[in-house]
Amino acid sequence: MSLINYSSKEINCKIVYYGPGLGGKTTNIKYVYSKVNPESRGKLMSLDTELDRTLFFDFLPVNLGKVRGFTLHFHLYTVPGQVYYNASRKLILKGTDGLIFVADSQIERFEDNIESLENLKENLAEYGVKLGDIPLTMQYNKRDLPNIVSIEELEEVLNPRRVFFSEGVAIQGIGVFEPLKEVSKKALRRLK
């Protein structure tokens, strides 16, 4: 359970992009940053290695404005996808209100998607949380590339619960906002 902001009537929602390394999580968050009205967003913070790979996380605060006296903030995070940064990934998951799993559609990355999803389940389990307990959406990214797995197959293996998915080309902004909007709404509905 996260702590509550008692006096200022605020709702803070933490959305985490998860998925295999080089799958496009940072590209997603950078696109959101570039498209959201500057007044509604804070600074995009990236903790990278020298080679621009995410070391710890990327972080983007987005303000939704006031709704009936409540101020709504969405905090978007990415986790580092590379296998050996699991400690960072686990830390970022703490207190997550919603997850967007960014899968890499390329055939050669198929196994990496499965491994990352398994890793997500394991890390959540350490917080005593099941994947089904948290709002989740999927983005099948890099749909513009030639050597990709079919949506049916991705759905079959990665999305047995059939949660919302988008076909993404994150670098062009295609299919970026849909899963974010959907997971944010799911997270809000859980407030009830």
Binding site: I4, N5, G42, G95, S184, L188, L191
Partner: protein
């Protein structure tokens, strides 16, 4: 998800805020921030106008989480305080009630020893308030969030993420 629950906690919250402001004055700190372990800001005291608060809150929580894991690697349960020393400004971070991070930003006009003593003192008081709040939260229902609220929030989301 962090949600305000209105009047129910306002009294405790007011006391917390007063204690932080007193601490800030006592040690001549630039600012004092309370942050939850997920990186969400709870409240501040002092002057935070120079600070990117969301980034500071997020990094403080990440800092604490990372060092907790370092502690684990050497067989410690937790490092309950962290200190980052700069040329002009320093940051002292400590954990309250195992849930809340208290970060003090101070200049070289203040000594680390004084910060340590005063933070320890105020932490004990804050622990009392937070323990009460955490106990009260159990079973609490957020009645203010209804279908209309969700509907309005969703349309805000639609227009923001167009």
């Amino acid at each position: 998800m962090t949600v305000s629950k209105g009047n129910h906690f306002e009294e405790e919250f007011r006391k917390i805020k007063e204690n932080l402001e007193e601490l800030c004055r006592d040690i001549k700190a630039l600012a004092v921030l309370l942050i939850d372990k997920a990186g969400q800001l709870i409240t501040t005291a002092g002057n935070t106008s120079f600070l990117d608060i969301p980034s500071f809150a997020t990094l403080s929580a990440a800092d604490f989480a990372a060092t907790s894991n370092l502690a684990d690697l050497i067989g410690e349960y937790d490092f309950t305080t962290l200190f980052h020393q700069g040329k002009e400004k320093s940051i002292y971070v400590s954990l309250i009630s195992d849930q809340v991070i208290l970060a003090v930003i101070f200049t070289k006009e203040t000594t680390l020893g004084l910060v340590r003593i005063k933070v320890r003192k105020v932490s004990k008081k804050l622990e009392g308030f937070f323990d009460k709040i955490f106990a009260d939260i159990e079973g609490e229902y957020v009645g203010m969030i209804d279908d209309d609220f969700i509907g309005e929030a969703e349309s805000e989301l639609d227009s923001l993420f167009e």
